[in-house]
């Protein structure tokens, strides 16, 4: 599946772009409306960009009454990204989404670098959300942790169904003339090609640590990038920053994937899945019960 990365597409202003994806992921929705951070809130960096949008969103009430009915008309699966400042806030939003058949899945954004992060651990948030909804729960993690595999295992044990890897990393750029921070809040989240090796390593580690399906993202620009993420262990891939320069990126990337597969003699992406991993050590199962010989 090809998705958009949360916060990198508004399906209501660009419905034709959303329809070119297999599912649409919303910008993170929080309990209360948020204006986001003051401008300036984007800047180009070396091979990437910074953003400090700060989770601008209408809040769950207006999302449910205003946005969701209009999103449902797009007739593509809707994933709702959920954020908050305490585990109970995530749980509250999840329970309010639970009755809405038009919501295909929930992504728990436990990793936005632009707001004071929730003090609870990812696992506690997943556990509270799990009690509040039957929807598939995807935990969106940050790579800025010492052992992302351990965080992934904890999320799995808490009841997550999948992982979204990765969110942006904290970064700083300075204005060329004044040498002051380009962004109003000074630091922002780094996305784009600079993030790709970090994201691939996270996917690789989480594939080895858990058996959950993974949505890989971070600097995906081309069909080759998609193959890399799938080979590292991602079942699905999301486009973020690439959509800004090129709203036609989904169809272009799909065409490039077909060419890349063909050039390697593969018939589809399943042939590439997890091929970056060593011949899986000819062990039958890992400690977490995952069967490794595929």
């Amino acid at each position: 599946m090809l998705l958009n990365a949360s916060g990198c597409l508004d399906a209501l202003t660009a419905p034709e772009v959303a329809r070119s994806l297999d599912a649409f992921v919303t910008k993170t929705v929080t309990p209360l409306p948020r204006d986001g951070n003051p401008p300036v809130r984007i800047a180009e960096a070396e091979v990437g960009m910074l953003n400090s949008i700060g989770l601008a969103n209408p809040g769950i009430d207006r999302f449910l009454t205003g946005n969701l009915p209009r999103l449902a008309k797009l007739e593509i699966p809707i994933w709702v990204s959920v954020g908050g400042f305490a585990a109970e806030e995530y749980a509250e939003i999840c329970s309010r989404l639970d009755d809405h058949a038009e919501v295909a899945a929930i992504e728990l954004n436990v990793s936005c670098p632009n707001v004071e992060s929730p003090s609870e651990s990812a696992a506690r948030i997943v556990a509270s959300a799990r009690l509040a909804t039957r929807k598939p729960l995807w935990a969106k993690l940050s790579a800025a942790v010492p052992d992302i595999g351990a965080v992934a295992c904890a999320a799995c044990e808490a009841g997550a169904d999948g992982l979204s890897l990765v969110n942006t990393l904290r970064g700083l750029t300075l204005d060329a003339r004044t040498l002051r921070p380009s962004l109003a809040p000074a630091v922002g989240g780094l996305s784009g090609p600079a993030l790709k090796p970090v994201a691939l390593a996270a996917v690789y580690a989480c594939y080895q640590a858990t058996s959950m399906p993974i949505v890989g993202m971070g600097g995906v620009q081309t069909g080759r990038d998609v193959l890399d993420f799938v080979a590292a262990g991602a079942r699905h891939v999301a486009l973020g920053t690439a959509l800004f320069a090129d709203p036609d990126a989904p169809s272009r990337v799909r065409a490039e994937v077909a060419v890349e597969l063909d050039a390697r003699g593969y018939s589809d992406l399943d042939d590439v899945y997890a091929t970056a991993h060593p011949e899986l050590l000819s062990i039958g199962t890992t400690t977490n019960g995952k069967y490794l010989l595929k």
Partner: protein, 218 residues
């Protein structure tokens, strides 16, 4: 909104600015005040540019080389190709009586196309130097002033004002003529509502300038 790879027809110097002329392909030139996102060679993000002129088969952009993206665009030569997305945003409302175009510096960029659409109404333009003022030649019937004189000294507040220029100029025009149509700027990553980067404060809330603007009527 449509994205195409187009060829540079020519790149002409106009004072410190560059008039980048590209083939139009299948792109609609849009309404004056609307903009396009231009791929800047070697940069990750495209740059927003107003349509300056739209002669048959072409689109032309007037570009001020102030940073890496605009310098890369000004360095393009005939035959080079670049991806262009648009037209985007909301342009000027053209059904006005007694229009007066007001421009400052690179803010004159959308005025040649606007002037044509409105049947060459009067225009007043302000520039930092005589060199910058060479760009005034692109706007018919323009009265020009150069700093330290300010363009607002030439503004008739009773006319229907359509203005583009640096923020202090726009604020001064708004103070003189509260109903003026003003074309604003903000840093933009996408130009089509995807990134929420171009937020500006409107009616007490942050809104996306690429969706609500760039032309705003107060």
């Amino acid at each position: 909104m449509r994205r195409e790879r187009l060829s540079v027809v020519a790149s002409e110097r106009v004072g410190p600015y560059t008039l980048l002329r590209v083939t139009r392909g299948g792109l609609d030139p849009g309404i004056p005040g609307q903009f396009f996102m231009l791929e800047a060679p070697g940069r990750l993000l495209p740059r927003p540019m107003s349509v300056c002129l739209a002669p048959p088969g072409e689109l032309a952009f007037l570009i001020d080389p102030i940073g890496p993206g605009t310098r890369a665009l000004c360095g393009l030569e005939g035959g080079d190709r670049l991806a262009i997305l648009g037209p985007l945003g909301n342009g000027f409302q053209l059904d006005v009586e007694r229009p007066l175009l007001v421009g400052g510096g690179i803010g004159i960029a959308p005025l040649p196309y606007l002037s044509e659409a409105l049947g060459r109404p009067p225009a007043v333009l302000g520039f930092r130097s005589d060199w910058h003022a060479e760009a005034a030649g692109l706007v018919p019937d323009a009265e020009v002033c150069v700093e330290p004189r300010l363009v607002t000294e030439l503004v008739d507040p009773d006319a229907a004002i359509l203005a583009c220029g640096p923020e202090p100029m726009l604020e001064a025009v708004r103070a003189l003529a509260p109903t003026a149509q003003l074309a604003w700027e903000a840093p933009m990553a996408c130009g089509y509502g995807a990134c929420y980067g171009c937020a500006v404060e409107l009616d007490g809330a942050l809104k996306r300038l690429c969706v609500e603007g760039p032309v705003l009527c107060s």
